[in-house]
């Protein structure tokens, strides 16, 4: 599904140039559950942003579903993103002014799904995440675990082929964290490819494969059994 080759990314300020990704090459197959680990500043988040087409690389190739996307315009990337990729963040990133239902509905609005179809699909996914009873609440009225479930519901409502999760349990206690990992595992078993950045060895054990980054390079891969 994903093939990156010699990917490079630099950050420049007036005086310093920081290398975030240094000729990184990775391949991820459809249906895989991959964890990306490494110390702070190793380039994990940069990689995730590029994979999620939120950012573009300075050099190298990124092939997504056999399409070279490294030099796509922002508009084309946005279009590819909204149909194929769902995001889950450490800080949930729900819109405070929208209810649970409306937050989950948002991606469907942007992909132009008709209203009756939207209601059906949102209800279906809320039911699956067991937060149907909270559909009319606002994010501030929910616990962290519930908020993350809403965020996951929002990420999957469009039936994306790939889910990118950036420390999805980072703001949760261990019990809620485990629930979230179970959810991701379920999704993966139903065929969704998952790439997750994490600091937690515990969470990483849910994955099939761990890619360890250091200074923008892949230093080790562990295959989980």
């Amino acid at each position: 599904m994903i093939k990156i080759t010699n990917l490079e990314k630099f950050y420049r300020t007036e005086e310093v140039e920081t290398i975030a990704l240094n000729k990184l090459s990775i391949e991820i197959a459809t249906g895989e559950f991959v964890a990306i680990m490494g110390p702070s500043g190793c380039g994990k988040s940069t990689l995730l942003n590029i994979l999620g087409m939120l950012d573009d690389p300075d050099a190298g190739s990124y092939v997504f579903n056999e399409i070279e996307v490294a030099h796509f315009t922002e508009r084309k990337r946005a279009d590819l993103r909204k149909h194929n990729i769902g995001f889950v963040f450490q800080s949930f990133n729900l819109i405070d002014e929208l209810t649970v239902f409306e937050n989950v509905e948002l991606p469907l609005i942007y992909t132009g799904v008709p209203s009756s179809e939207r209601v059906k699909r949102v209800e279906e996914v809320l039911d699956k995440m067991q937060i149907m009873h909270r559909r009319n609440h606002y994010p501030q009225q929910l616990s962290g675990g519930q908020q993350q479930r809403v965020a996951i519901a929002r990420a999957v409502v469009n039936k994306p082929k790939l889910i990118l999760a950036d420390e999805p349990t980072g703001n949760l206690d261990s019990s809620n964290g485990n629930d979230v990992m179970e959810l991701l595992t379920d999704l993966n078993e139903q065929g969704t490819t998952i790439i997750m950045v994490t600091h937690s060895e515990h969470d990483a054990r849910y994955s099939h494969r761990i890619i360890r980054l250091l200074d923008g390079q892949s230093v080790m891969e562990n295959i989980m059994v």
């Binding site: 950012d55 946005a78 963040f89 990133n93 819109i95 991606p107 942007y110 929002r154």
Partner: protein, 794 residues
């Protein structure tokens, strides 16, 4: 999708109530001010355009060239209109109007009507004055036929049918009502309560309509559509030569005629009209309206972009989820439009509430209701336009945020954004300070005009008008003596006019310093022996009128200093004993009166002469003591009923009459003051919003500073300083602009104040104080907060 936008817009507004209120109220107040001014300007520009033939009607005006000067007059002579129609077949119709006054009597009701127009049947052919009752062709034909406007008809006859009813004019001319017409629209440059047929004038003053030298009426022509008036004007010198009289030729007079389009008469013409507007005031107010709207838009832009940091996360999420920039731009634009539409609702309400006040302030009924003339729809369109214009910049900024940066919180206002906001605040305060300086200068000029020594006594003087009724004139001395016997009436005089009223102008020949007879247009004051002492006018050479000189009623005139100067004499005494000839009288100058202001201070004092002429008096003026004024007035009224039972008791105070000359300026000053206050108010709202936002962002910094030992005044000082610097900067831009604008404005006054430094100082300090109060309110609140709380909130 739109539903989602609207939903989130409303929730955002609700969540940030205080910001929303500042935004909405600021916009609504700005829109209201802009809207009211827009209505005013539209009204001023609409004068006379309602006539169906508006584009084809022209007023004939004349430049009167004497050997020494040129007078730009709007009135013409009576035979002119018919002569033009006879000479030029292209003229489709002509009509003449004479402003007149009658004492109108219906059974026992008696009113002095000073708003009467003598008119001929062609009036209805040229102008659109629809008759409700009566025959358009015949209503103004027979002498002493009367066409009343509806309101006047009700006043005299109530609900009865006025047609065929008789009225008595000036106690001696029986007249018949032949028509009733709709009331004159407020945007008409001449207005009247009733029309009396022009043919009546020949019954009162035989031969009046064939006097070529008597400029006393207005003439209007109806020309074909698209007619080139300039071409016709070129032929007027020949016309003048054909029709000039021997008398005029002998005096070396020349009349140059011009055609003024009807649509220019009110607003553009400098010659005056029964009612005339002021184009520069219209421009000034249009600019003020645009300024106020600009200030309101700036608030909106500033507050919206300042809050951008808060909206950044939402932008990031939406982009990650799949929103395109275009969709986000539309979302934020629709939010702006929603805010503007809410403001529109408030603004409609404010306009509705303040329209009566505005009508009062502007001195005329601009509109009865905001619901007429599609005004509300226009306000709606303006609101939408403001939403789009003011919303564009914030929408583009917000939709341009990079999702990663916003989601990671690595986001702060850019230097460019902060600079822009500061620049906009500077614009707001520049405008505000200009308006404050303007208000101060306008008010100072007004108070200068009111308090300027006018050269005559105007306080506690009551003028009773009897409109030259000959029955009263005959007994003037008896009436004066009777009135003087009333307690608290100190003196009495009779005259044709008083300062502040109009006066006749007489074409006069006077001996100048070279010994030649010089032609001079003299303002004429027909007075009695008591007039000069009663008005405390100063004789600077020669003597005042005196009964001791038998010839004072037939030969003597007193001139003013301006006349002396025009004649070339070095000092007033040199003019004494010099010859004059005026309207069939001749004799000598017996005295020189110190210049007094008989017109507004916008005009220089012009040459004037006085003469004793008991047969041409129109008013009595009484000097009263300040004690028990109401009682004195009612005593005068009771006496008047006995002395002149046929005349209604109409009185005015001389000082009030004179101050009425400044109605336009007072109106201008008041409107200016109100809009300046509004501008400051809106600017301060914006400043309040920005200050509270900036303090909010610096909560943590304030906490850390306090932990490190900063004092409350120190923090207030730190937070206020940056805004006060902006105000000071604005002042340096505003001062030269204000000075230039007000310098130009003051050029319109012959007697004017000098702009002084303290007006700028006051404006600057005022702006600083207002800004400091606004900002420090927030700053003190932030400085007093417990640092533990502010640090924990991070």
């Amino acid at each position: 999708m739109i539903k989602n936008y609207i939903k989130i817009a409303f929730r955002n507004l609700w969540r940030h109530k205080s910001f929303s209120m500042i935004n909405i109220i600021g916009l609504a107040v700005g829109m209201t001010a802009g809207f009211l001014i827009f209505m005013y300007v539209k009204f001023e520009l609409s004068y006379d355009k309602y006539h169906e033939n508006a584009d084809e009607i022209y007023r004939v005006v004349a430049d009167i060239k004497t050997p020494t000067e040129t007078l730009n007059w709007s009135s013409t002579t009576a035979p002119l209109g018919p002569a033009m129609q006879a000479d030029y077949p292209v003229v489709k119709a002509n009509t003449r109007i004479f402003n007149f006054g009658f004492l109108v009597q219906s059974n026992d009701n008696k009113f002095q009507e000073d708003n009467i127009v003598l008119a001929e049947p062609s009036l209805f052919k040229i102008f659109t004055f629809p008759l409700i009752k009566g025959d358009v062709a015949k209503a103004l034909e027979a002498p002493f036929s009367i066409v009343m406007i509806e309101t006047a008809a009700k006043k005299y006859f109530g609900s009865a049918d006025p047609i065929g009813k008789s009225l008595l004019l000036d106690g001696k001319y029986p007249a018949t009502v032949t028509g009733v017409m709709e009331d004159i629209r407020p945007n008409s440059h001449f207005k009247f309560n009733m029309l009396v047929s022009l043919s009546s004038i020949e019954k009162m003053v035989p031969g009046r309509l064939s006097q070529w030298g008597n400029f006393g009426n207005y003439t209007y022509l109806l020309l074909p559509k698209g007619y080139d008036a300039n071409k016709r004007q070129a032929q007027f010198p020949a016309f003048f030569n054909r029709h000039t009289t021997d008398a005029d030729r002998k005096q070396g007079m020349n009349y140059a005629y011009f055609l003024e389009p009807l649509k220019d008469v009110y607003m553009v013409s400098k010659r005056g009209a029964p009612e005339s507007g002021n184009l520069s005031n219209v421009y000034i107010f249009s600019i003020v309206a645009i300024f106020i709207l600009l200030i309101a838009c700036i608030n909106f832009i500033n507050l919206t972009t300042a809050r951008a940091t808060e909206r950044a996360k939402e932008v990031g999420i939406r982009k990650v989820i799949g929103a395109e920039r275009k969709q986000l731009t539309i979302q934020f634009l629709s939010e702006s439009v929603i805010i503007c539409l809410i403001s529109f609702v408030f603004s409609g309400l404010f306009s509705f509430l303040f329209l009566p006040l505005f009508n009062k302030l502007s001195g005329k009924v601009i509109s009865q209701s905001i619901f007429e003339h599609g005004y509300l729809f226009e306000l709606f369109l303006i609101s939408c336009a403001i939403g789009l214009i003011a919303g564009t910049y914030p929408a583009l900024v917000l939709s341009n945020f990079k999702p990663i940066a916003t989601l990671k919180g690595r986001f702060s206002s850019t230097t460019k954004g902060i600079l822009l906001r500061k620049g906009l605040v500077i614009i707001q305060f520049t405008i505000s300070i200009v308006l404050i300086v303007g208000t101060l200068v306008v008010y100072n000029q007004l108070s200068y005009m009111r308090n300027q020594a006018l050269g005559f006594q105007k306080d506690q003087m009551v003028t009773i008008s009897f409109n030259g009724d000959s029955a009263v004139q005959k007994h003037a001395d008896i009436i004066k003596n009777e009135l003087k016997r009333i307690p608290n009436v100190l003196s009495a005089s009779a005259s044709a006019t008083i300062p502040g009223f109009g006066n006749s102008v007489a074409y006069t020949e006077v001996e100048n310093h070279l010994g030649a007879m010089q032609q001079l247009n003299m303002n004429l004051y027909d007075v009695d022996y008591d007039f000069i002492p009663q008005f405390e006018m100063k004789i600077v050479a020669g003597r005042a009128f005196s009964k001791a000189f038998g010839t004072d009623t037939t030969k003597a005139i007193i001139v003013n200093e301006a006349a002396v100067k025009s004649l070339g004499y070095l000092k007033p005494a040199d003019a004494i004993g010099k010859r004059y000839a005026q309207w069939g009288r001749d004799g000598k100058i017996i005295g020189v009166v110190k210049d007094f202001h008989f017109q507004s201070l916008q005009e220089t004092v012009k040459p004037l002469n006085m003469r004793v002429n008991p047969r041409n008096t129109e008013v009595f003026t009484l000097k009263v003591s300040g004690k028990n004024l109401p009682e004195t007035i009612s005593a005068i009224q009771n006496k008047w009923k006995i002395l002149a039972p046929e005349r209604p008791f109409n009185y005015v105070f001389v000082d009030e009459t004179f101050n009425k000359l400044y109605t336009t300026e007072v109106t201008f000053g008041n409107l200016f003051l109100y809009f300046a206050v509004l501008a400051i108010f809106i600017s301060c709202l914006g400043l309040l919003g920005l200050a509270s936002y900036s303090t909010l962002q610096r909560t943590r910094e304030i906490g850390i500073r306090k932990v490190l030992g900063a004092s409350v005044p120190g923090i207030v000082n730190m937070l206020s300083k940056e805004f006060l610097l902006l105000v000071i900067f604005s002042a340096t831009i505003a001062f030269p602009l204000a000075w230039y604008g007000m310098y130009k404005w003051l050029q319109g006054f012959a007697y004017r104040i000098n702009i002084s430094w303290w007006e700028f100082a006051v404006a600057g300090i005022l702006a600083l104080i207002i800004a400091f109060t606004t900002v420090s309110f927030q700053a003190i609140k932030a400085a007093l907060t417990n640092p533990v709380k502010s640090l924990r909130s991070e």
